[in-house]
C-alpha cells in the first residue's frame, strides 16, 4: 500500500491508478501477482498506484465508489466477484476509465482482460497424460465451483488427448485455505495409484507439494513457476500472466493508448502457459516429464495456437 492521500492535496501531475482487489491478498497468489505487476508498471511509468484490498463482497462496491470519489484516473479491478459492482459504478460514471482483469464487463468505459486458462490446463493435462506411468493422474481442487472447471475441464481434455486410457481423479478440499486437507487428498490419490497429482487448491497446493515429497509422486503448481519450491517433485507449473495483465493495462494507460474493449489472453497471446513449454524455468526439467514429452506438448501448443486443436471453454 503506497500512501496516496497526500498526493491529492499536492496536486501533483502524476496520474493515479487504483487497483481494487476483490479479496485480501494472501490466499490467492493470483492477486499478489497482480499487485506486483501494477507496482512494477507504476514505478516504470511514473504512475501512482494504490492497491486496495476488499474484505468482502459488499466492500468491493464501496471501494470502487470511493475510488471514483477520490478521483483516481484509472480504476482497475479484478475477477468475477467484481462484475456486478463494476457494472453499476461504471454505468453511473461514464466519464471515468475502468479496467477489469480476468473477466468481461461490456461497457464503453471498461477495458476487460480475460484469460483462457483452459488452454494452459489442456497442456498440463496433455503433459500429465504423456508422463504418467500408472495411467492414473489426479488433481486436488480448492472448491467445487463452476469457475474451477476451467482447470479441471481443460486438464481432462488434454489428458484424454494424449492418453485416452488414463484415469483422472479429482478431489475438492472445500476451502482455499486448508493445506492440511489438500495434502491428505493428494496422499489419497497417490495411494490409489496416481503418480502425478496437479495442485489447484490455492494455498492448499503447498500441502500437495509436501505430499508429493513425502510419497515420491509428482505434482504441479499454478499461476507462477512453482517448480522452484521442489524441482524433484514439482515438475510443472501452469502459468497465468496476471502480473502482465495489470502491467500492460497501466502501461497502455500511462502511454495514453488505453482503449476500452476486451483483451483475451491465451496461449497465442502468451498470457497463459506451461513451464518448459511456453516459458523456460530456472529448475532443470525433471526426467519424469522428459524432453521428448515436452516437445510433444510444444507441438500441441502450436496446434492450439494455429486453431488445429480447439479447447472447449468449459463455462460455455
Amino acid at each position: 500500500n503506497s500512501s496516496s492521500s497526500k498526493s491529492k492535496e499536492k496536486g501533483s501531475e502524476k496520474k493515479r491508478v487504483a487497483l481494487i482487489l476483490p479479496e485480501k491478498i494472501g490466499v490467492n497468489p493470483f492477486f499478489q501477482q497482480m499487485d506486483e505487476g501494477a507496482k512494477k508498471a507504476g514505478k516504470e511509468f511514473n504512475v501512482d498506484v494504490k492497491t486496495i484490498e476488499s474484505t468482502d463482497q459488499a466492500a468491493i462496491e464501496q471501494n470502487l465508489r470511493t475510488a471514483v470519489a477520490e478521483n483516481y484516473d484509472l480504476i482497475i479491478t479484478s475477477s468475477f466477484e467484481s462484475e456486478d459492482a463494476l457494472k453499476k459504478v461504471a454505468t453511473e460514471n461514464p466519464n471515468k476509465q475502468f479496467a477489469i482483469i480476468d473477466t468481461t464487463v461490456d461497457l464503453p468505459n471498461v477495458r476487460s482482460v480475460t484469460f483462457r486458462e483452459q488452454e494452459a490446463a489442456y497442456l498440463l493435462g496433455a503433459a500429465a497424460g504423456l508422463a504418467t506411468k500408472t495411467n492414473k493422474v489426479g488433481m486436488v481442487v480448492a472448491i467445487d465451483a463452476p469457475l474451477m472447471k476451467k482447470w479441471t475441464g481443460g486438464f481432462q481434455e488434454g489428458l484424454k488427448a494424449t492418453n485416452p486410457k488414463a484415469q483422472f481423479l479429482v478431489n475438492y478440499v472445500g476451502s482455499f485455505t486448508d493445506p492440511a486437507k489438500a495434502k491428505e487428498l493428494a496422499l489419497l490419490q497417490a495411494s490409489k495409484g496416481a503418480d502425478f497429482v496437479a495442485g489447484a487448491s490455492a494455498v492448499g497446493d503447498l500441502g500437495v507439494f509436501e505430499a508429493a515429497k513425502e510419497k515420491g509422486f509428482f505434482t504441479s503448481g499454478q499461476d507462477v513457476d512453482r517448480t522452484e519450491v521442489d524441482p524433484k517433485h514439482v515438475v510443472l507449473s501452469q502459468l497465468k500472466g496476471t502480473d502482465a495483465a495489470a502491467y500492460e493495462t497501466i502501461k497502455d494507460f500511462a502511454k495514453g493508448s488505453y482503449k476500452a474493449g476486451v483483451v483475451s489472453y491465451g496461449l497465442k497471446e502468451d498470457g497463459v502457459g506451461l513451464t518448459y513449454v511456453t516459458k523456460e524455468s530456472k529448475s532443470p526439467l525433471n526426467p519424469f516429464v522428459g524432453q521428448a514429452n515436452i516437445d510433444k506438448v510444444k507441438a500441441i501448443k502450436d496446434d492450439i495456437i494455429s486453431g488445429k486443436v480447439t479447447v472447449t471453454d468449459p463455462l460455455k
Binding site: 500500500n1 503506497s2 500512501s3 496516496s4 492521500s5 485480501k24 494504490k50 486496495i52 484490498e53 476488499s54 474484505t55 468482502d56 463482497q57 459488499a58 466492500a59 462496491e61 464501496q62 471501494n63 465508489r65 470511493t66 470519489a69 468475477f80 466477484e81 462484475e83 456486478d84 453511473e92 473477466t103 468481461t104 467445487d144 465451483a145 463452476p146 469457475l147 476451467k150 463455462l315 460455455k316
Partner: protein, 356 residues
C-alpha cells in the same frame, strides 16, 4: 426521566470501552510504525466521514441488526440460536429463487420473495427447535450443524441447477433479479436501502413487544425460568417454537434484504464471508438482547468494519491491524467492569451531594 438516565448510563460503558480499545490499538499501530492519528482519523472517516460512508455503514449494519434482533429474540426465550448463518443463507436463496422464478406480476414476485425469505429462515430455525422439543437434540449443536448443511445446500443450488449461465458463467450465483424487484435505495447513489428502515422498525416493535405486551412477557419469563413459565400457564413449547421461528425469520429477512437490496442475486459465499452471523450474535449479546441497544451495537460493529476499510484505503497500516483493533474493542466492550466502576463513582458522587 429515570429511565432516560439509565439508558444514558448504559451508553457510558461502551464509550469507555472504545477508548480503551483504541489505546490498545495504538500499540499495534506503533509496532508497524503507522501514524496513530492518521489511522484513527481514517477509521472514523471510513465509518462516518461523509454521507456516503455513513450510509454504507448503516447498510452494513442492516443485516447485522436483523440477525442480532433474531438471535436476541431467541436468547430472551432462553434458547441459544447459533444458526443465524444457515437461516440467513436459506432466507437469501429462497428469496432469490422466488423472485426469479415465481410467475406473476412484480408485486406478487416481490411479496412472494419477501415471504419466502422469511419463511425459509424461520422454518430452518423451527426445525432445530422442533428437534430439541421432540428429540432433545441440543439446540446449540443442531443449529451449528444446520449452518453447514444450509450453506452447502445453497451452494449446490446455485452452482448446479440454478446457476446463472448467462455472461461468464464462472461464478456460483443465480441470475440477476429484475430491477423492479430491487429494494429502493433511501438516497440516490448511496448503498443504504429500504431494508434498514424495516430493521429499525423491527427493533422498535420488538422493544415494545418485550416491554409492553403479554406475548413479550411470556417469552421473557420462559427465558428466565422455564419451570416458572409453565407453572404460570405459559405454553412452553408454543412460545419456544414461536421464538425460534421469529428468530430464524429475522435472519432469513436479513438474507432477503441483502439479496434484494444489495447484491440483487444470490452469490455463493457472499452472505457468509462477511461473518454477518457472528457479528450479529455479538451485537445481540453486547446489547444484552435489548432491541434498542442492539441498534447501537450493530451500527458500532458495522462501523468498525467500514472504518477498517477506510484505514485500508488510505494508510499504510496493514488490513490485518484493523481486525486486531476490532477484536480488542469488542473485548473491552464485553467487559462489565467499566459499567460497575461508573456506578461506584456515581454513588460516591451522590453521597457527596447529600452531605452538602
Amino acid at each position: 426521566m429515570n429511565r432516560l438516565r439509565q439508558q444514558l448510563n448504559a451508553l457510558i460503558q461502551p464509550i469507555l470501552a472504545i477508548v480503551l480499545g483504541l489505546i490498545v490499538g495504538m500499540a499495534a499501530i506503533q509496532i508497524v510504525h503507522g501514524s496513530i492519528i492518521q489511522t484513527y482519523t481514517e477509521m472514523w472517516n471510513g465509518a462516518f466521514g461523509n454521507f456516503y460512508f455513513v450510509t454504507s455503514t448503516l447498510a452494513r449494519a442492516t443485516p447485522i441488526l436483523l440477525i442480532a434482533l433474531g438471535v436476541g429474540f431467541a436468547f430472551r426465550a432462553g434458547v441459544f440460536n447459533l444458526g443465524a448463518e444457515g437461516q440467513l443463507v436459506f432466507g437469501g436463496i429462497a428469496a432469490a429463487l422466488t423472485a426469479l422464478y415465481l410467475p406473476g406480476p412484480f408485486v406478487v414476485k416481490m411479496i412472494g420473495a419477501l415471504l419466502a425469505g422469511i419463511m425459509a429462515g424461520g422454518v430452518w430455525s423451527l426445525l432445530a427447535g422442533w428437534m430439541e422439543l421432540k428429540f432433545k437434540v441440543q439446540l446449540v449443536i443442531s443449529t451449528l450443524l444446520l449452518n453447514y448443511i444450509a450453506t452447502y445446500f445453497a451452494s449446490y443450488l446455485v452452482s448446479k441447477p440454478f446457476q446463472d449461465r448467462t455472461g461468464s458463467a464462472a461464478l456460483a450465483q443465480t441470475k440477476m433479479l429484475d430491477a423492479h424487484l430491487w429494494l429502493p435505495k433511501l438516497f440516490a447513489g448511496m448503498p443504504l436501502h429500504l431494508g434498514f428502515v424495516f430493521a429499525i422498525l423491527f427493533a422498535l416493535v420488538l422493544y415494545i413487544c418485550f416491554r409492553f405486551t403479554s406475548t413479550g412477557y411470556q417469552i421473557s419469563m420462559l427465558g428466565k425460568n422455564p419451570f416458572f413459565a409453565s407453572y404460570g400457564g405459559i405454553h412452553k413449547q408454543k412460545i419456544m417454537l414461536l421464538s425460534m421461528f421469529i428468530s430464524g425469520a429475522l435472519s432469513g429477512l436479513a438474507g432477503t434484504f441483502e439479496i434484494m437490496g444489495t447484491h440483487y442475486r444470490f452469490i455463493d459465499g457472499a452472505l457468509t464471508a462477511p461473518s454477518y452471523a457472528w457479528t450479529g450474535l455479538m451485537a445481540a449479546l453486547l446489547a444484552n438482547s435489548n432491541p434498542i441497544g442492539t441498534i447501537f451495537t450493530s451500527i458500532l460493529l458495522a462501523a468498525l468494519q467500514t472504518g477498517a476499510m477506510g484505514v485500508e484505503r488510505n494508510t499504510d497500516v496493514p488490513l490485518e491491524i484493523s481486525s486486531v483493533i476490532q477484536a480488542v474493542i469488542i473485548l473491552f466492550i464485553s467487559a462489565k467492569f467499566a459499567f460497575k466502576g461508573f456506578k461506584v463513582i456515581k454513588k460516591r458522587r451522590k453521597a457527596d451531594g447529600a452531605a452538602v
